[in-house]
Amino acid sequence: MVELQQIKTGFEANEFFLMANDDPSGRPRLSERILALGLAGALLCELVLDNAVAIEKGNLVRTAHHRPRHLLHVRLCGEVDEEAPRSVRDWLDYLGLQAIDRVGQRLRNAGVVQFQQPRLKMPGRTGRWLPVDVQTANWPAVDVARKVYYGRATASDLVLFGLTRATGLDNPALWEIRHLLTDPTLLKQTLSPLAVYNSALVDLLTQTEVAVASAVASQRRG
C-alpha cells in the first residue's frame, strides 16, 4: 500500500490530468476546453487544500497566513494577489486558458509525462502528453475508484471524484463507482464529507460543473 501511495504525484491537477488522458496513447478523454476547465478547477482546489486561498461571497481571495511552497502555487497566488477579488467563474475561465500547458509542464518536470509534437503541424492541432510509465498514469483513477468504493476517500480523492462528475469524464478504471457519479442521491452522499471538510471545495466543484455546462452548450472555440 505504501509503495502504491508513492506513485501518486501529490497534486490534484496532476492526478486529474492523468485520469483525463488515455494511459498508453496520451489521447485526451475530454474535449480540450472541458479538460482545461477541469484542470483549472483542480488547480484552485489545490490552493484551497493548501489553505492558500479561500472563497468569500463567491470571490476567490488569498489567505494572508499561508505562504505556498510549490513553484506553480507561488505563481498562481501571485496572480491572485495582483487582482482585485474576482468570481470563481472568472478564475476558472482565466486559468483554463493555460491550465493544460501548466499542468502538463509540471508533470513533465516531475518526469511523469513527455510532450510529443504532432507529426503533421496544422492549425488547431496540438501535441500529446505521453505518460512515461503507463502504470503510474493509470494509478490515480484506480486509486480514486478503490477508495471511494470502500468509503476510505480522502479530501483529495473526493475532489478528483467531484471533478470527474463535473467534467463528465469517463475513465474505464472508474467503472465500479460509475453509479455513484450518475445517481444524484448517491452522488450527494458521496460528496457530503467534502462539504464538512471545506465547503469551498464543493463550491469549486459546482462552479466547474457550471462552466463545463456553459462550454457544452455554446460549443464554441473562440
Binding site: 474535449s31 495582483e82 467563474r89 472568472d90 473526493l158 457530503s192 472555440r221
Partner: protein, 503 residues
C-alpha cells in the same frame, strides 16, 4: 487635470480576449438562422405554397413583433441562464408543468425543422452532383449522405470559431445582397413597385400562412441567451448581437423576397410553383453570383441541419442534466458532445427520411416545407408561451427593470404572437396547400398539442415520483450553483489531511 485611464489587469485583458463579443455572438446566431437556406429554400416555397406575394411585408411585420418580444425575453434570460433558454423561462414564469410542455414542444419543433432540411438537401445535392460530376442517384441517397455527415459531426462536436462562422455568414449575406441588387435592377414589368413591402398587402384571411413562413425564417434568433455565460458583457453583448442580427436578417429577407416579386412580376407565384422554383433566387443573377450561391446554399443547408441538430441535442442534454430525462441524456462523450441526445436526434432524422421515401412524399414540397413551416409554428407557440412567462415573472419579481421592458413590451408581444399563432393554426390548410380539414391540417399542429400534454403530464409524474428532479426543471446552471454546500450530520473525510490514507 484628468485622471489617466487605468490599464486593464492581465486577467481582465485575457478574459476579454477569450470571451465572445457582440460580433462573434451575432455570427453564432446568424449561423443558426442560415439566411441563404431561408432566402433560396424557404422564400420560393412560400410563394409556391401560399400563392401570395406579400412575403416581403410579412418578414418586416414578424421582425417588428420579434423586436418587441426580445426586449422582455432577453431581460428575463439574463436572470435565468440556461442552455434551453425558452423552456427555462416558461418553467420560471408559468410553472414547471408548463415548462416541460414548452420543452417538449421545442424538441418537436426543432426536430421538424432539422429533419425537414433533409428534404431540401437531398434534391439539391442530387442536382448538384448530376450537373457537375455526372453522378445520378435518388434524393434519398444524398439525403442519407448528408444525414451521415450531420450525425458524425454532431457526435464529434466540432468546436466552432466565431470568426470562421463570421466569414461564412458574411459570404452568404454578400451573395444574397448581390443577387438582390441584380434582381431589382432588372424588374419584370419595367418598373419597381414597393407594394409587396407594405403591410397593407397583408390580408387578414391570408395573414396566418405567410406569417408562419416568415417566422420560420427567423428561427435561431432566440438562441442569443445560450451564449450569455460566454459573453464578454452579457448585459450588453447578448442584446446588441440579437438586435443587430434581427435587423440584418429582416432587411436581407425582405429585400431578397421583394427582389423576387419585382424581378418576376406577376409570374413570381407561377415560377415558384414550377419545376425551377427552388432555383429562382439565383436565376436572377446568372454567372458568378449564381454558381457561388449554389455552392454556398449547400453548405448553408448542411450548417443549418447541424445547427438544429445541436439545438435539439442541447435541449435534451439540458433536461438530462437536470435528471428530468434519464441521466445518460445529460452526459457528454470525449468530444464534449451530448452523445446520447445526438444519437437520438440522428435516429429521428433517419426515420424521417425513410418515412418520406416509403410514403413517396415530395421531398421539397412536403418533407422540407411541411416540416419547416410546422416547426416554425411550433417555435412561434414556444416563444408566445415564453413571452407570457416573461410577463408573469416580472409581475411577481419586477426588480429594477423599467416598466416598458418588464410589462409593456412583453404583454404587447404576447398578444401579437398569440394572434399570429392563432392565424397560423386556423389557416394551416393554406400553409400546407392542402384541402381544408384534411388529415395533415389536424395531425401536424396536433403534434404540439400532444407534446404539450405529454410534457406537462411528465412533470406532474415527476412531482410525485422524483421531487428532486421536478424541483430542478428549468433551473440549469442555477440548480447546480444552488446545491447545498454543507451537509449536516455527515462525517468529514476519513482523514483531515488532503492525501492521508485511512487504510
Amino acid at each position: 487635470m484628468s485622471i489617466p485611464p487605468t490599464a486593464p489587469s492581465k486577467m481582465s485583458a485575457a478574459l476579454a480576449k477569450d470571451r465572445l463579443g457582440a460580433p462573434a455572438v451575432g455570427f453564432f446566431i446568424l449561423a443558426g438562422v442560415a439566411p441563404l437556406t431561408v432566402t433560396e429554400g424557404v422564400v420560393p416555397s412560400a410563394f409556391a405554397a401560399t400563392g401570395l406575394t406579400s412575403v416581403p411585408a410579412a418578414f418586416l411585420v414578424v421582425a417588428a413583433v420579434l423586436a418587441v418580444f426580445v426586449i422582455g425575453y432577453l431581460a428575463m434570460a439574463r436572470r435565468i441562464p440556461n442552455a434551453g433558454a425558452a423552456y427555462a423561462l416558461i418553467s420560471k414564469g408559468l410553472g414547471k408543468p408548463a415548462g416541460m410542455a414548452g420543452w417538449l414542444v421545442a424538441v418537436v419543433a426543432y426536430n421538424l425543422l432539422q429533419v425537414g432540411l433533409y428534404g431540401m438537401i437531398g434534391p439539391q445535392l442530387a442536382s448538384f452532383a448530376a450537373d457537375n460530376f455526372g453522378l445520378h442517384a435518388s434524393w434519398g441517397v444524398w439525403a442519407f449522405g448528408a444525414w451521415a455527415v450531420v450525425a458524425v459531426l454532431g457526435l464529434l462536436r466540432v468546436d466552432l470559431s466565431g470568426w470562421v462562422l463570421g466569414v461564412l455568414s458574411v459570404l452568404e449575406l454578400v451573395v444574397i445582397v448581390a443577387v438582390t441588387i441584380r434582381g431589382l435592377a432588372h424588374p419584370a414589368d419595367g418598373g419597381v413597385s414597393f407594394a409587396a413591402l407594405s403591410p397593407a398587402s397583408l390580408h387578414f384571411s391570408s395573414l396566418g400562412p405567410v406569417l408562419a413562413v416568415a417566422v420560420l425564417g427567423f428561427v435561431g434568433i432566440e438562441q442569443g441567451p445560450v451564449f450569455s455565460e460566454e459573453a464578454r458583457n452579457p448585459k450588453r453583448t447578448i442584446p446588441m448581437a440579437t438586435y443587430i442580427s434581427l435587423g440584418v436578417i429582416a432587411v436581407v429577407y425582405a429585400a431578397a423576397s421583394w427582389a423576387l416579386v419585382v424581378h418576376y412580376g406577376s409570374q413570381v407565384v407561377p415560377t415558384a410553383q414550377g419545376p425551377d422554383g427552388t432555383g429562382m433566387l439565383f436565376a436572377m443573377a446568372p454567372g458568378l453570383e449564381a454558381s457561388t450561391g449554389r455552392s454556398l446554399f449547400l453548405t448553408s443547408l448542411l450548417a443549418a441541419a447541424l445547427a438544429f441538430h445541436t439545438a435539439v441535442g442541447r435541449y435534451m442534454w439540458a433536461v438530462g442534466r437536470e435528471r428530468v430525462l434519464p441521466a445518460a441524456m445529460g452526459t457528454t462523450g470525449s468530444t464534449g458532445a451530448p452523445q446520447a441526445a445526438s444519437i437520438v436526434q440522428s435516429l429521428l432524422g433517419a426515420v424521417a427520411i425513410l418515412l418520406a421515401l416509403g410514403m413517396h412524399w415530395d421531398p421539397i414540397g412536403q418533407l422540407f416545407f411541411w416540416g419547416g413551416t410546422t416547426g416554425g409554428v411550433g417555435i412561434l407557440l414556444l416563444l408566445t408561451a415564453a413571452s407570457a412567462a416573461v410577463v408573469r415573472y416580472f409581475w411577481t419579481s419586477p426588480g429594477d427593470e423599467p416598466v416598458w421592458r418588464r410589462l409593456v413590451a412583453p404583454a404587447a408581444a404576447t398578444v401579437l404572437m398569440a394572434v399570429m399563432a392563432w392565424l397560423c393554426i386556423t389557416h394551416f390548410d393554406v400553409l400546407l396547400n392542402v384541402a381544408p380539414g384534411s388529415l395533415p391540417t389536424k395531425v401536424l399542429p396536433g403534434l404540439f398539442g400532444a407534446a404539450a400534454i405529454i410534457g406537462a403530464s411528465w412533470a406532474l409524474v415527476l412531482r410525485h415520483r422524483k421531487p428532486a428532479a421536478y424541483a430542478a426543471i428549468g433551473l440549469g446552471s442555477v440548480a447546480l450553483s444552488q446545491r447545498p454546500t454543507t451537509a449536516v450530520g455527515t462525517e468529514a473525510p476519513s482523514s483531515a489531511t488532503r492525501t492521508g490514507n485511512a487504510s
